[in-house]
Amino acid sequence: MDIRLVNLTKVFADKDSEVRAVDNLDTVIPSGKLIGLLGPSGCGKSTTLYMIAGLLNPTEGQIFFGNADVTQLPPEKRGIGLVFQNYALYPHMTVKQNILFPLQNLKVPKAEALQRAQKVADLVAIGSLMNRKPKQLSGGQQQRVAIARALVKNPDVLLLDEPLSNLDARLRLQTREEIKRIQRETGITTIFVTHDQEEAMSISDEIIVMKDGVAQQKGAPQEVYNNPVNLFVAKFLGTPPINVFKGYIKDGGVYIGEDRILETELPEQEVTIGIRPEGFEVNEDGTGDFTLKIKLVEYIGRDKSVVAENEYCESPTFRFIVDADIKNIVDGRVIKAKIKPHKCFIFDKLTEKRLQ
């Protein structure tokens, strides 16, 4: 079942100020996919999630589950599963009782309920912990109980609020694979919220990048990475982050300082240029179009991560990655590099929209 958000807006207002947490969000979440809502804190992603869940009422706009307008429908009637960031497991109930609770509210007969509960508990691999209380479980286990509780009523939509942020690094990798696996096996339309772009990129079928309540871009992770629609999206995705330079266009060419790095058909103007770390081609002779001074070379096994300087860069230093085998990359050298055109994005200086 797909989810349609139409002009969804949420405004928090008190006597002195107004905050537009979500601003005219208009999008379709396709059925059966794993969608990541990505953005920095305060961008409105959790607010959107809670509106889809029905825990917050939109100021304007509508939400459709399939063809049904559920905007005014209270949360207990929406048939969704929600995994809270802090899990919100009922502390006075055992794991089994926690999972059974939604089924009891739906008046599912006891025998069937127990069966379903066990099935879903096994699905998330906590089948042996049924008689424990939440405080006897580790963080990862608690989360899986929360997921089981959300799934046991076979919801049409599964929502996860920052599912990985409370876990330690090792568990994070493991759990995000679990989420992907569970979503594949059940085929439920799933939306999760995160501020970690690596997480979102790694498991989502599609990501929606948000900033200040406005959706910036929506698409498959690789697509959004390779074709960011504006500077914000380009900067938000990718580790190490994209390198930003001041530049201009003249005579059909893109210039950073004196260096003509690219051909273009864009008219003359000042622009902001973003170049991915992997967008620098360095050869052994140090020839190319773009001048840079090497400050520090970090050898990280498979690659060399190079910290360099260029006076037109927006930050004091920038970073690029090259193959470890390339020789003659040493501290202090001034070299030139070629820029891979598909890794270089030109943005309008004022609107930050992507021009090329």
């Binding site: 869940a53 029905g54 825990l55 209270p74 949360p75 207990e76 009637k77 048939g79 969704i80 599963g81 929600l82 809270f84 802090n86 919100a88 497991l89 009922y90 502390p91 006075h92 109930m93 609770f101 939604p102 509210n105 739906l106 509780r149 959300a150 009523k153």
Partner: protein, 323 residues
């Protein structure tokens, strides 16, 4: 840290408290217990030891005579019955009622503070004072309650028996149960504020996320109240139940407030008396050997009963309270 040097200092700070505590709490506790076992006890003769003549000696012998006396002579058992009714009726009612009120209060935003303040008013009042108001409200002639009953087409009742008299000046038809109803109403009226306050603050400390999760899980308001709110509130409920039990066993002021020093109208004195009323009554009697000794025995009996029920309450709490 020079712990050694500080030792005596700490005791210095505690000295006044300790002295007072020993004189007025610890020693009395033990002493009362001992007195209960001194037969024919006459406190005026303290220091004159054991002896056959209670006009000169403190007590006659060690034994259970005091206990025997209170259970066989007089109306102690009646007072015990009255006390038990108070405990087992008013406590459950006031706990359940205050729970409902607290949940209702918690669910509204507008005027919440206003209602909260109103509901707390009985706590700051004088038990004796408002008790007298109740006796005026329930007066047979010209009382508010009887008037309301008449308005709704019912029969006005002689609630307290005070103002209808026969030619001898004795009160007419004071019914034990009607008077008990008034007493229980008053006790509940007094008992609500504290409970509502505790339960409301307990409710407000429950993380909203549990309610949200329950909503997502499809629970309606009633289910949430029963299966989420009340269990999460169980520590407070247990605490209130235990302390209310203890308080109800010691009920005295409310009785005196409504029914006067003699716990009943003329001709029907001591009708509504409680165990504690008996204790104080014995303390002021002029018949010395039937005074303090009996009072002490009654106090000990009360103490044992309270401890017994507190133990039961605690045992039940352990099984059903979730922290």
């Amino acid at each position: 840290m020079e712990v050694g040097k500080k030792q005596y200092k700490a005791w210095l700070y505690l000295a006044p408290t300790l002295i007072l505590l020993i004189i007025f709490t610890i020693y009395p506790l033990i002493n009362t217990f001992i007195i209960a076992f001194k037969e024919n006890y006459n406190y005026l003769n303290i220091g004159y030891g054991k002896g056959p003549d209670s006009t000169e000696y403190e007590f006659s012998s060690w034994g259970l005579a005091n206990f025997k006396a209170i259970f066989t002579k007089g109306d102690f058992l009646q007072y015990l019955k009255t006390t038990m009714i108070i405990v087992f009726v008013s406590v459950p009612i006031s706990v359940v009622l205050s729970l409902i009120i607290a949940i209702a209060l918690n669910s509204i935003k507008a005027l919440q503070k206003f209602y909260q303040t109103v509901f707390f008013m009985p706590y700051v009042t004088n038990t004796i004072a408002i008790g007298m108001v109740f006796s005026v409200m329930f007066a047979t002639h010209g009382g508010l309650i009887n008037n309301l009953i008449k308005v709704f087409g019912g029969q006005p009742q002689n609630w307290l028996g005070g103002d209808l008299m026969d030619s001898a000046g004795n009160s007419l038809y004071p019914s034990y149960w009607k008077s008990m109803l008034v007493l229980l109403t008053y006790i509940t009226w007094n008992a609500l504020p504290f409970k509502i306050l505790i339960l409301l603050s307990g409710l407000q400390s429950i993380d909203k996320q549990y309610y949200q999760a329950a909503q997502i899980d499809g629970a309606n308001k009633m289910r949430i109240a029963l299966r989420i709110t009340v269990p999460l509130l169980s520590p407070q409920i247990a605490y209130l139940t235990i302390t209310s039990f203890i308080g109800a066993f010691k009920e005295y002021s409310s009785v005196v407030a409504i029914f006067g020093n003699q716990a009943g109208p003329k001709g029907y004195r001591r009708q509504m008396a409680t165990v504690v009323w008996y204790v104080y009554d014995r303390m002021k009697t002029s018949d010395m050997t039937k005074g303090m000794g009996y009072a002490a025995a009654a106090a000990v009996v009360l103490f044992v009963i309270i401890m017994f029920f507190t133990a039961i309450n605690s045992w039940v709490s352990n099984k059903r309270v979730h922290y």
